[in-house]
Symmetry: C2
Subunit: 228 residues, 2 copies
DNA sequence: TTGAAATCGTGTAATCTGGACACCATCATT
DNA sequence: AATGATGGTGTCCAGATTACACGATTTCAA
């Protein structure tokens, strides 16, 4: 992928720039994060966020989307820049500035992560039970989580966790998992419907021995709107 | 400042990394931004945000604070990372990643900007009437302004515009300028006092032929707290 | 000394918003 | 036909937010 046997010289020292992505999804009623096991030093064998070096003619967003695509096989996800980490000693090899992003994968999407070249293994880990992480990646995840939870309050970001069609109970479940508290069913439905952000598909979802649920879809599936 | 007559080589191309800072203050009832006139190409003679290259052993926050200090002579300001801009062609010289910050200078602080080495001129410009700007700096300012206004709603950031002591009318004035709308005096005072974030100094401010106003101070002057 | 000009400081009533709360409906299964 | 399980619905109360007007205190000038 990168040009071999050549060097690039500058009058002043330049840091390396990477992007790292915190990929959230909800699997089996748990908030989960995609991690890769590092195949090479430093922190070999340690779990880390998917990410990699910025190509010199590649936009930051493109780089993050590419890394994400390489690790998960998924594209078109909601992807938002989070923060830039650049402490001088965060990487022992050289000075590395990491522009971090976070992404949301729809619940139960067929996200079969496949190991990329520089990763020994890829897998989902529940947010509540993360393994030890390489570099400052624990700090990055913590910030991403804070941002995600904060955005629940004033944006439609939670819809990015939903499949194309979903039931109100499923949507409520997502909020409950992220906020880590139960919500009142009637108040939840009243509020979410009054916002006018979702609409009925007309279909019914039947699952199990009980009344089937109405299916809804987002009115603007790819957009995250600021509300109230 | 930087090492001369030496080159730094890497196996892969590295972008340059800069920090740029949007410095806000309120001058004469107008929201204003500090700009420098570029002494050198590209965009020579154009106005730009204060900023500069990251030293290789310098943290990002430190770099932003240093640039700010060099341009304004002020330190200890509220400074927060905003966003990282890295479009491939944003600087015609080489690939440059700019980690941007925004800072707030207290109203009518003795901010006498002095031109740094690479700037021909430094000055305040009202937000409503900005000159043409170099690079993507107009976009950066727009984002900083959106962030600032959004933070008014859920944080105590407006207090960073106030001098050590201030009157409630002055504080209300700051909100009115930033929100660009008049506020009700009684409701404003009721709300801001009920939050318990400011306290009376005991002093009075007399200015002009009218009843003097009570002076207040922030309870946690350097901290920006999230409210409600 | 008195009146005018200017800003300071204060309370109440109406409205809106958010949260608490319980029961019947509909399907599958036996 | 009865059981088990989740879907779907409305009202009331409390607290929060908004609208709104006037007397108090100072300086200055006549």
């Amino acid at each position: 992928m990168r040009a071999p046997l050549e060097t690039f010289s500058y009058e002043y020292p330049h840091p390396a720039v990477t992007t790292d992505v915190v990929v959230f999804t909800i699997r089996d009623t748990r908030l989960s994060i995609l991690l890769v096991k590092r195949a090479n030093p430093p922190h070999q064998g340690c779990w880390a966020l998917p990410g990699g070096f910025l190509d010199i003619d590649e936009d930051l967003d493109t780089c993050a989307a590419r890394e994400l695509q390489e690790e998960t096989g998924i594209s078109g996800l909601y992807l938002e820049q989070l923060y830039t980490f650049g402490a001088t000693r965060r990487d022992p090899r050289e000075r590395v500035i990491s522009v971090t992003y976070y992404a949301l994968v729809p619940q139960d999407a067929l996200a079969t992560p496949r190991a990329a070249s520089d990763a020994a293994e890829v897998g989902w880990h529940t947010f509540e039970n993360l393994p030890p992480l390489a570099f400052d990646h624990a700090q990055i995840i913590e910030m991403a989580h804070r941002r995600l939870v904060a955005k629940l309050d004033y944006s439609t970001i939670a819809l990015q966790f939903m499949a194309e069609s979903f039931t109100l109970s499923e949507l409520q479940g997502v909020y409950e998992i992220l906020l880590n508290q139960p919500l009142d069913k009637r108040n939840f439905r009243k509020r979410v419907l009054s916002l006018g952000l979702i609409e009925e598909t007309g279909g019914l979802r039947r699952s199990g021995k009980h009344r089937p649920a109405r299916e809804y879809r987002a009115r603007h599936p790819r957009r995250v709107e600021i509300i109230k």
